[in-house]
């Protein structure tokens, strides 16, 4: 078997796997078919079902469900929450990554672990902690009641729970990226007389833009789609504290299946757009990385030539 690979003319492009270390054609195709069937069954079937159920009662029923006032108010609340949680976590993520990757200080690893905590906690517990803090029987509950401030079963509670759940996304994406890039370029800018913000916007930001965008896309998807944490703090008041995922649940539990799946299909489209954008950003990242490597190579050969 090995001799076949060896006797192959050297001019043909090397295959990813040579015969000596590859599987026979039959094994290869069996594995591919089994893997793809598994994925089709677990991922594509539910995806297809959402759209089939959404249009089960026809296009006009679908449009009615999507244009219904409660759905529209749920959609605008979802947008409002994402428009608060995402920018807040953007600032936090950039600040955290800047402090962790550009400076040395004791307790750095602990800080990185703490940033990851919200991912380790069940969404239900993420919502519950805000009920314990601000609920009627919570720590600050009586004080809030005296001052007529509502946080739980109101919009502020949903914003807080969503912010908690999505806190790690941007930081997590930026920390390894900026760690790899080091501090040399920024130091050069500062030494040449640039200000701090100037350095950040002109030197750091162009280097991290794709990673930043990647983190933002994932953060936004989770902020708009969060269910468990939001369900605990929302109180499910229609037209007031109902987000799109919660609206899907309410309609489903009322046996309004077609309407429920119609709203779900909107969220599914959001997920598909997220995946498409994410893939695009990954390609861009890889392209700029390989371009950077090529530039470096060209640079070094120029230096050698000189």
């Amino acid at each position: 078997m090995a001799s076949i690979a060896v006797s192959r003319p050297a001019t043909t492009a090397p295959r990813a796997v040579t015969r000596a270390t590859g599987e026979s054609r039959a094994v290869r195709w069996t594995l591919i078919v089994v893997a793809l069937s598994f994925l089709a069954f677990t991922l594509l079937l539910p995806l297809a079902l959402v759209f089939q159920q959404a249009f089960a009662k026809g296009l006009s029923a679908y449009l009615d469900a999507v244009k219904e006032p409660d759905t529209l108010s749920a959609a605008s609340l979802t947008l409002l929450i994402a428009s608060i949680a995402v920018p807040v976590n953007l600032v936090f993520g950039v600040a955290a990554a800047w402090s962790i990757t550009k400076f040395d200080f004791p307790g750095k690893n602990l800080l990185i672990t703490l940033i990851d905590l919200p991912f380790a906690v069940s969404p239900v517990i993420s919502g519950m902690i805000f009920v314990l803090l601000f609920g009627a029987q919570g720590w600050l509950g009586p004080w809030l009641l005296d001052h007529d401030i509502k946080i739980i079963f109101a919009v502020p509670g949903i914003v807080l729970a969503t912010t908690f759940v999505t806190a790690p996304f941007v930081a997590r994406e930026l920390i390894p990226l900026m760690q790899e890039q080091g501090t040399e370029e920024e130091e050069a800018a500062i030494v040449l007389g640039a200000g701090g913000w100037q350095t950040f916007f002109r030197v750091t930001l162009p280097n991290i833009k794709w990673g930043l965008l990647y983190g933002l896309i994932l953060c936004n998807a989770r902020a708009m789609g969060e269910f468990g944490a939001v369900s605990v703090v929302s109180g499910h008041i229609r037209g007031e504290t109902n987000t799109l995922p919660l609206h899907v649940e309410i309609l489903y539990n009322e046996y309004a299946f077609a309407a429920s799946f119609a709203v779900a299909s909107v969220l599914t489209l959001l997920a598909l757009v997220t995946l498409a954008l994410k893939t695009l950003v990954e390609w861009q990242q890889r392209r700029s990385a390989s371009q950077g490597a090529a530039d470096n190579e060209a640079g070094s050969s120029e230096r050698i030539a000189a």
């Binding site: 990813a16 796997v17 000596a20 270390t21 094994v27 594995l31 893997a35 793809l36 994925l39 991922l43 079937l45 539910p46 995806l47 079902l49 950039v94 955290a96 800047w98 402090s99 962790i100 400076f103 800080l111 672990t113 703490l114 940033i115 990851d116 905590l117 380790a120 906690v121 069940s122 969404p123 239900v124 517990i125 519950m128 902690i129 314990l132 029987q137 720590w139 807080l160 908690f164 806190a167 501090t183 130091e187 701090g196 708009m224 789609g225 269910f227 468990g228 369900s231 995922p245 899907v248 649940e249 489903y252 429920s260 799946f261 779900a264 959001l270 997920a271 995946l275 498409a276 893939t279």
Partner: protein
């Protein structure tokens, strides 16, 4: 020397660390601390009787059992999917690679109602299984199906980079020394991938024990039978049994932290091996 120098040149250390620590304390640590403080209010005997109540213990069994089985299935198929994506070229490979992340992007409630409808007695899949006496929606199996959906990307995305970095030379050496393909896989490839596989398993398991949205629709929520721990916590909260909810949440939180610790240790060990 390097340290004091780099801190001297770049600005913004105080500002960025200040924002980070204040934000983490207010949004993450203070709220999480309430669980520990609330539980401390509870006498030990009351805490113990709450977390060992038969209904609560039954929910641990459902949650941990289904999560374990789902993570195990994901480990097998996750390795297969990662292998196929890294090693073979076939039309649509990039599309398949992108779609693997669907469970990360799809809101859990959508996954929940879709899977429930799919596996119900009159659903696309359920209608073929029901006559055979297999019920999936509203049973323990349904919970497992939902957790397989949720956990799959964790295993694939953990194993994929390791397979990508795997040096073909080691496999070639094994082959030239006379190893059969299967032997090469079990003796050379598998040991290299094993730490990543274990990490993927732990990540999928950790996500599964906390999962709520995708499970709550399909589980049927029968106390003692198909009631998961997160739902039990919500039920207790809705009955204003804050002490009970907090006690159960603390048990789950400790389980999650132990898992997080295990995952970090696994990754640390893998990095050390890679560096060696």
């Amino acid at each position: 020397m390097m340290r004091s120098k780099s801190r001297g040149v770049l600005p913004g250390f105080g500002l960025s660390l200040g924002i980070t620590c204040t934000y983490l304390s207010l949004i993450v640590l203070l709220p999480l601390a309430t669980i520990f403080v609330r539980t401390a209010d509870l006498p030990w005997s009351a805490f113990w009787s709450t977390v060992t109540d038969p209904r609560v213990v039954a929910s641990y069994r459902v949650t941990f059992g289904a999560s374990f089985v789902a993570a195990l299935i994901n480990t097998v198929f996750g390795l297969l999917v990662a292998w196929v994506l890294v090693r073979y070229r076939f039309p649509g490979r990039r599309l398949v690679d992108a779609i693997v992340d669907l469970p990360f992007a799809l809101p859990t409630a959508v996954a929940g109602i879709a899977l429930t409808t799919l596996y119900a007695g009159n659903g696309w899949v359920g209608q073929y299984l029901e006559p055979m006496g297999i019920k999936i929606s509203y049973t323990w199996l349904g919970i497992t199906v939902a957790l397989i959906f949720i956990g799959l990307p964790f295993v694939v995305r953990t194993v994929q980079p390791v397979l990508d970095d795997l040096e073909v030379e080691a496999e070639e050496a094994a082959a030239s020394l006379g190893a059969r393909r299967w032997q090469t896989f079990t003796r050379v490839v598998f040991p290299t991938v094993a730490p990543a596989l274990l990490t993927g398993f732990a990540l999928a398991f950790a996500r599964a024990i906390g999962e709520y949205g995708s499970v709550v629709f399909i589980s049927g929520n029968m106390p003692m039978k198909t009631e998961i721990v997160p739902l039990l916590i919500i039920t207790k909260l809705e009955q204003y049994d804050y002490a009970g909810a907090t006690a159960v949440a603390l048990v789950m939180l400790i389980a999650s932290f132990l898992l997080l610790l295990t995952i970090n240790l696994l990754q640390w060990a893998a990095r050390r091996r890679a560096a060696a």
